[in-house]
Symmetry: C2
Subunit: 572 residues, 2 copies
């Protein structure tokens, strides 16, 4: 395309109300404009990206699912059947038509697709089946923000599968898991499929797909060597190696004014990883033991000094009360202990020790005496373990729980979610088909979403620098830009640029010829801001030398390339 | 695609509430399903057609316009600015968000695009510019019907252009006129661009694009030889040749009980086209003439007996009152005339004669005496003409007003509309840019719509038979279907069908392999109902003979073709 025919709506200033970089850059690069709170118009450059993202999603989804298109407006009756008319809350936008009939603006389509399925699916022979659509959704967010990252109107690819049984669901689920990998790989994004629950049932009931970016709202723990990934809260912390034999004798030392792990470590000149901290929390009384009341109402949780307690993991232990509640200072004192110097030695309550803390030898802990800590402590000899459990957050460098590589933690932006729905909607809407035995049964469902508009913002959050956006090749609005140098005075450069433009178009490249009546500096800034991956400058000097000036968007310097070299770089 | 993996939701019965053939066939072929009144879910086969239509529209629009995407939901403030919040009426669906702010579901996007333009366009140098989108719209029709032909939620391609002056608008308008021709030609539709007004200003202010189909709601008159086309009400009726010299003497003959043109023609054994009828209507008094009151309050309109009065044309005459009103029987009697035997001879009121009637010689008319008609009548000699005017509907065989070919009248379905908006919205929303002289001026606009979902229905209304839909090649859900004969017992036919399937896929055809576990008869009916243009049957018998059985969707019989012949047919 010729830039003179494209609306370049670039802005030099960063708009004041844009908090995150993708929102700022999408406004500055002229990809979107705000119509009203949480409502955005996509400008030509933005639509080009959006269409490329959508095309990739469609191509991959078409390999195993069928595209449908459901209305944006939905009769509320279906939401009453599913129970979500009440449960969904004020994000569900309701309205009445001219005949006073109640409708909603669809935030999601489980009800509509299940209604379709109960009419169209008659027999187990029609299963499994997987429908998807790319459609506008509306969620009346109380505080829309971050541009298209959390807007009210947005585009989703949502898919819904129907199955005769759980095994069939799991097969399609795995297929969608693979399809999502293919999609996000083709989109050129660094992403991780994250276990979205701890997997108490089946272990793979739900995965979130996160694009890794510093601005993400979630902490993702993933393996450096395998495809293991989980929310930090959900990732299992494992320990390798066994506890060394004791080498030191226990000593009680004065640690005046040293209460925190850092203070104690500094004072004693040991690593925090060689210390433990003991947290007293409310426990669950053992009803079968008449003497348990009170005795077991508190529990000690012991972690390595450099580790953090994971509330969710701790709460799931049968000994620990949920929600997790720390003992009050009075309760601690009633145990004869003092905050700031608690250790696991000689406690009269259950001592639950994190896996990592359980393999320490010769460690440091509170001495259960004010202003004193114990050193050279060893389990069994000096302190007893009731239970070893995983009760901490994983940290960078932890072994991956699948045994491959180590844990790396980064922030992530959720752009996709696949979910084994089971029979939640099919039961509520009575979606049954006839089984092999001639009897009707309720179908089992899965659902699979990708936030199409959000993907665009997430791609920017992952790929930018101080000059602007750096698009992955596959979704760039244009893959190559050609700038004729000294346009006004060099018909030769213009002609050569036109020739190259037509040649590259013919070779299938998505080329922008920047024929605007602007200075080269303005063009270069715009092209960098907009994020075109390859820039070619055609100049008299280059033509004399038989070269083109090439600069990749991530390159710090331009270089002179022959036509053949140039084509090789563009194709590579 | 394999049919076993496609949801074939064909129905044998015609659904009761579907009035028009496209609605019936879209339901029966499994293209759409109703979610609620005027809301339809598009099933996989329907989406395939919809996506092909959309792709063609995008490809053609991209040649001269830029794609954008505006929200479905729009703040009502913009509609208040344009004045349409009130004017649009109850088809404009209004709702309030969770913060009680008023919005509408967009039935069209003039306001939103003009709001964007007034922010983004600063200078005449940015003009002309043409934005388009493919987006869901909502019109709260009081009585949605005919399936997706008149649904509440539908998809439109809408484009809006901005210009410095009328000349620029007209240039883009002509470009869109040509683009629409390219689009509808590629869609494989028989259509006409129809002048949508009589052209009193400029003559080309608006064109409707109609797909010709017997079920259309509008009568379209078009030339057999040129691209002239107009609504029948708007088409100019012209006459060729001049009035012959009188050859007969006037006679008054008894015509007992013959009052209508047919009765008189039969009785006198003349063609209705050799008779005239004289209609007395209310006229406009000539205020400048003190004696005019009453005298000129009636007007005679004279048409050939076989022609019909066009009210709109007659109303536009300065002599005729609007709305057109026929004289009462008493008023006719007061003129000394009698209904059933009125003629233009000796009338004391203006006689406005249609062009075609004005070139008759030796014609028949009422004799202004009960039960009698005049024959051998001639203008000037026997009756005076006040004015010759175009006051009738065109009929088949009339000369085309552009002098090329003759008029053909067919019914049409409006699927597109291009319109020179002028400054209606830009003025209301104060959309100004700086001119060459540094002064701001209000931009001039055009708009250009295509009903994307409606195009699909219109294509069916134009292309079907008693077996089902007959898709134009370019928008068929699949262009070719392959059916292996005796599938269960002939692995050889199955293998050969698979081989052909892969070969055709590789050659770029959109192929459906009907591998369903159904009898051939069922498959054939389904494929005909669904409207696949080419059907190939692979059988043992054919393989022995080295042929494939081929049947085009419009063919009455199948024929045996060699592979080369088959490929030639598919490519042709």
């Amino acid at each position: 395309m010729r830039a003179s025919r494209l609306m370049f709506a670039t802005l030099r200033e960063t708009p004041g109300d844009a908090e995150v970089i993708s929102h700022q850059l999408m406004l500055r690069a002229g990809m979107i404009r705000k119509l009203a709170t949480g409502l955005y118009t996509w400008l030509p450059l933005g639509v080009r990206v959006l269409n490329k993202v959508t095309a990739i999603i469609r191509e991959e989804m078409n390999k195993s699912a069928m595209e449908v298109l459901m209305p944006v407006t939905q009769p509320i009756e279906l939401w009453e059947e599913s129970g979500r008319a009440q449960a969904y809350g004020p994000e569900l936008l309701r309205f009445r038509d001219r005949h006073d009939r109640p409708f909603v603006l669809g935030p999601t389509h489980e009800e509509v697709i299940t209604d379709l399925a109960r009419q169209e699916l008659k027999s187990y022979k029609q299963l499994p089946v997987n429908f998807y659509q790319v459609q506008t959704k509306f969620r009346d967010e109380i505080r829309p923000r971050f541009g298209v990252m959390r807007s009210r109107e947005f585009i989703m690819k949502d898919a819904y599968s129907f199955h005769a049984n759980q095994a069939s669901l799991e097969e399609t689920y795995q297929g969608m898991y693979d399809t999502y990998h293919a999609i996000f790989n083709r989109l050129g994004l660094n992403f991780r499929a994250v276990q979205a629950d701890t997997g108490s049932i089946g272990g793979n009931g739900s995965h979130e797909f996160h694009v890794l970016a510093d601005s993400g709202e979630d902490d993702i723990a993933f393996s450096t060597e395998s495809d293991f990934a989980a929310n930090v809260e959900m990732a299992e912390a494992v320990v390798t190696g066994t506890r060394p034999a004791p080498a030191q004798a226990m000593q009680v030392v004065d640690t005046p004014n040293a209460k925190t792990i850092d203070e104690v470590s500094n004072f004693l000149n040991v690593s925090p990883s060689q210390t433990v901290k003991t947290l007293i929390v409310r426990g669950v009384a053992d009803d079968s033991d008449p003497n348990s009341k009170g005795k077991y109402s508190l529990v000690a949780l012991v972690l390595r000094g450099d580790h953090e307690l994971n509330d969710i993991k701790a709460e799931k232990l049968p000994q620990v009360a949920a929600p997790l509640t720390f003992a009050s200072e009075d309760e601690v004192k009633a145990l004869g202990l003092e905050l700031g110097s608690i250790g696991p030695q000689g406690l009269n309550i259950p001592v639950i020790v994190d896996r990592a803390a359980s393999v320490l030898a010769d460690f440091v802990a509170g001495a259960n005496q004010a202003g004193k800590h114990g050193t050279g402590l060893n389990w069994e000899r000096d302190a007893q373990i009731t239970l070893v459990a995983d009760i901490r957050n994983v940290v960078n460098g932890d072994p991956s729980p699948d045994g491959k590589g180590v844990i790396n933690i980064k922030r992530g932006i959720e752009v996709g979610h696949i979910f084994q729905l089971g029979q939640k909607y099919s039961e509520a809407l009575n979606c049954k088909v006839l089984g092999e035995d001639g009897k009707p049964f309720v179908v089992t469902m899965g659902c699979y979403g990708i936030g199409v508009t959000r993907v665009v913002a997430a791609a920017i959050e992952q790929n930018f620098d101080d000059k602007g956006i750096i698009w992955p090749q596959s979704i760039a609005p244009f893959s190559v830009a050609i700038v004729p140098m000294n346009q006004a005075k060099s018909p030769r450069a213009v002609a050569a640029a036109e020739e190259l433009y037509n040649e590259l178009l013919g070779a299938g490249f998505d080329v922008l010829l920047d024929d605007r009546n602007e200075r080269p500096g303005v063009k270069f800034s715009d092209l960098e801001l907009v994020g075109i991956p390859h820039r070619i400058v055609v100049s008299e000097r280059g033509l004399d030398a038989g070269t083109f000036e090439y600069k990749g968007r991530r390159d710090s310097d331009a270089r002179e390339l022959s036509k053949d070299e140039l084509l090789a770089v563009l194709k590579g």
